[in-house]
């Protein structure tokens, strides 16, 4: 698992980027804040990148993504218009593992239990989402992906399409 020290360094970089124009100059109110850094794991459990949420009140305005070396990969904004937060998702739906777990459990089949949630991606690294394992009473396990309010079955290895194709 990634070290706490790395997460702290990433958090510091994100705060610096937010105070500069390096993140593209989106207009955010002064109450904006950088929240806790979350590791993005590959399907194999290795560190892929760091997700740093930028919140305003209870809304997720956007997020930074840093590579494991601390280089800024992108700032992505949920703001459809500068200086408006309309349409931004609830921050906890993307930053709180317990909330994500509950979201997955709500879509579980009868008897299935939701395991711990971790942030990953749906095949292509640009497609960030949470993954939760659902275990049925007979011991079979299936994985679901969660992005905000949307839950779907994690795609199988055989799907080679733009939309659910393998990462190259």
């Amino acid at each position: 698992m990634p070290e706490k020290r790395e997460a702290t360094e990433i958090l510091k970089s994100a705060r610096e980027a937010l105070d500069s124009d390096e993140f593209g100059g989106f207009t955010l109110p002064k109450s904006r804040r950088v929240d806790q850094t979350i590791p993005v794991l590959t399907p194999d459990g290795a560190l892929h990148s760091w997700f740093v949420p930028v919140t305003v009140g209870e809304l997720l305005a956007g997020f930074f993504e840093f590579d494991p070396n601390g280089a800024l990969m992108r700032y992505s904004s949920f703001q459809r218009q500068e200086s408006s937060l309309q349409g931004c998702p609830a921050a906890e739906s993307w930053t709180d593992a317990a909330t994500v777990q509950r979201q997955a459990a709500a879509k579980a089949r009868t008897g299935e239990k939701a395991g711990e949630a971790f942030l990953t991606y749906d095949r292509a690294p640009a497609r960030l989402c949470w993954q939760v394992s659902l275990e049925s009473p007979d011991g079979t396990v299936r994985a679901v992906h969660v992005a905000g309010n949307v839950v779907w079955d994690a795609p199988g290895d055989d799907a080679e399409t733009f939309g659910s194709g393998p990462s190259h």
Partner: protein, 384 residues
Amino acid sequence: MQLSKNQIKRIAGLELNALNFAEAMPDALEGGRLRSAGTPVYDINGSVLFHRIPIARSRGRAGYADVGSNAALGEPLLATTIGAEWNERKVLKEATAAAKKGRRSLKFNKVRFVAYSFPKVAVQFLKGNREALMLEWKTWAEVAPSNFERWSLLDEMPAPAKRANVRKFKKRVAIWESRKFRRVDSAIIKRKAFRQRKFVLKLTDTRELHYSPRPADHHPCYELRGQQTPVWCVAASVEMLLNFYRYQYDQVRLADELDLGTCAHPNGLPYSQVGKVVTVIEKLTSKNLDATMHTNPGWSVFRNEIRANRPLISFVPGHSRTVAGYTQSMIHLPDKLPYKGLLVYDPWPPTDCDHPEDGGVITKWENFATQTYQFAYSAVLKHI
């Protein structure tokens, strides 16, 4: 924030020196001199917008620079023209002659320059504070008060855009007023002025899609669409591109055309079917759009399309998004790596068919060096 004449002259010199240092206009500026703060040009509402400053050169072509004195413009350097002289007295003489032609009764006691339809400039003759006549610069055609082209750049600018511009402008001015730049002789444009002092400049070329290819006239014009199932990134991307050209097809219809299933049973676009994007765009626009697929597109494909004011669909491994802008550093300094980034309208994260207004993010900027670009699709509107 309104700059004084001294500040304007000084900032103009620094901006032009930076442009010259970056070799953005090779040899067009070297050796140029700024002798004054130039001519104030007013907004139609009476505020000073910018100054038109002559660039004198003993050798080579003269020119002029438009330098904003009003912070709402966002950047001090608005435009640089080489090969055309700006001589305020001469222009006023011509304007006065044109004004008196056929209007012997014309009375005025004040003349000023007005950006009546920014960046179009006119000469305004005033009697007291009232306009007696306005003539367009060069054509000397009258710009009547009823002329629909008259509009105030400052009054028409949306408040959020104005606030953002003011912040940007102040930041830029603060850089030029910092101690290290005070020592530069800003009245002369010389490449060595910056080289000797080892300044680190951040100069970038940035473009975003607008309503027309004239960026000064309109704000960025592009909208995000979230993918309505976890596998409809291609449908959402096609929707964004078609929306730019005012074709309103919903994602369900586009998914049907692309054989991507239904909301209840969706599927992605198979790798073998990438050509279908071209076919569907052309079909749904009755071939008014001429679509092209670019395999392994390089930077120039994205940059040239955006410069032509056209969005692109971009396929990266396993995913599709659209590109609506770019930024690139214009100068490469030893301690800074050159940077190229794309403005990506990404339909991910997904929404569902009941909430088409949700989903997606705008990424500003995606580092071009860290992504694999498999295919890109551009579309050109056919003209008669």
